[in-house]
């Protein structure tokens, strides 16, 4: 294993895919965020906590520009983080992923991780725009969300171990087992404790765009890491060519 090459391509692919995620958010999620924060502002004006003055809007616009720029930076950081996990799992599982080139393997793994670490947890605890969420419950919600992701992820690893031990014609039982397991967890885990106070068309539109943007990330990281792995072959440090 060319360790430095391995680390470099994993971190670069994560950072690039995360930056793409941040840019995608700016394009398709940001309008919903602006709309939701606009509702928050109206609530502040109505409650008297803030005054609707030109000075307010100057400060607000500068603050939001800073946050929007931060979104791309946060995308790069989050992408590097998730990309590191993706790189670990890919390196450990590459030899058991379906036969084919690296792109096929990375897309397969990205699909599995997208489904089990993002989409299924999202169905239980979907993303919410600003105006939705009680600050008093943020720790509870964070614990619930992270717990569900961890349970789903470790459940996937567990049922993969079962999958390996099953005969070819009974491997479907591992998929059925995971479905039953995560379905049970889905029902048993407490719901998000907060009520949704924002208009549902805003919330639903935000959630759809959130899923699209996160999916863009997973497609990007599969494409970039698969391409870089194929080009640099970090797992072929000492090729022993026998004739």
């Amino acid at each position: 294993m060319k360790t430095i090459i391995f680390l470099a391509i994993v971190l670069v692919s994560g950072a690039l895919a995360g930056t793409i995620h941040g840019i995608a958010n700016l394009a398709i999620v940001e309008p919903y965020l602006d709309q939701a924060i606009g509702i928050e502002n109206q609530n502040l004006f109505a409650s008297g906590e803030e005054e609707d003055t030109p000075r307010f809007w100057v400060e607000y616009d500068a603050y939001r520009d800073w946050q929007k720029g931060g979104q791309v930076l946060a995308g790069a950081i989050l992408g590097t983080s998730i990309g590191a996990l993706f790189g670990i799992v890919y390196a450990l599982s590459r030899h058991v992923l379906p036969q084919g080139n690296d792109l096929k393997k990375t897309f397969t793994l990205a699909g599995v991780m997208w489904l089990t670490l993002f989409f299924i947890p999202f169905l239980k605890y979907p993303a919410n725009p600003p105006t939705v969420g009680d600050p008093e419950t943020v720790v509870l919600r964070a614990i619930l969300y992270l717990s569900f992701i961890a349970i789903s992820g470790f459940g996937t690893v567990g049922f993969y171990q079962i999958y390996k031990r099953l005969r070819q014609n009974t491997k479907i039982l591992a998929f059925a087992g995971y479905a039953a397991f995560i379905g049970t967890v889905f029902v048993l885990m407490p719901p998000n404790p907060d009520e949704i106070s924002a208009p549902m068309d805003l919330v639903n539109g935000f959630r759809v765009m959130s899923v699209v943007a996160v999916s863009v990330f997973w497609v990007s990281i599969a494409m970039i890491l698969g391409g870089l792995w194929h080009k640099f072959r970090p797992d072929a440090e000492n090729p022993d060519v026998r004739n």
């Binding site: 294993m1 360790t3 391995f6 680390l7 994993v10 971190l11 941040g22 958010n25 999620v29 940001e30 965020l33 800073w66 946050q67 929007k68 931060g70 979104q71 930076l73 946060a74 995308g75 950081i77 989050l78 590097t80 983080s81 998730i82 590191a84 996990l85 790189g87 670990i88 390196a91 450990l92 590459r94 993002f118 947890p121 999202f122 605890y125 993303a127 919410n128 725009p129 600003p130 969420g133 600050p135 943020v138 919600r141 964070a142 969300y145 935000f206 765009m209 959130s210 943007a213 996160v214 072959r233 797992d235 072929a236 440090e237 000492n238 090729p239 022993d240 060519v241 026998r242 004739n243």
Partner: protein, 71 residues
């Protein structure tokens, strides 16, 4: 007529320290973007960091967009 067959044997064993580095990157990055509420800057700024929430505000939009509970 001779034929030659090339077989490439690859070593795929991953050094533990490489996995450890990536695991740390994963944990730190996830905490920074998804969960920090002033904890990191509190090392330097003390209690004031929990009021300023610099990292929280900087990552605010991504937190919402990526599905993390924010506020």
């Amino acid at each position: 007529m001779s034929q030659s067959k090339g077989i490439t044997i690859t070593q795929s064993k991953i050094p533990i320290f490489a996995i450890a580095i990536l695991a740390i990157v994963f944990a730190v990055g996830l905490f920074v973007v998804g969960y920090d509420q002033g904890h990191i800057f509190s090392v330097v700024l003390g209690e004031q960091a929990y009021e300023d929430l610099y990292i929280h505000e900087l990552t605010h939009d991504m937190r919402h967009a990526a599905g993390f509970p924010c506020h």
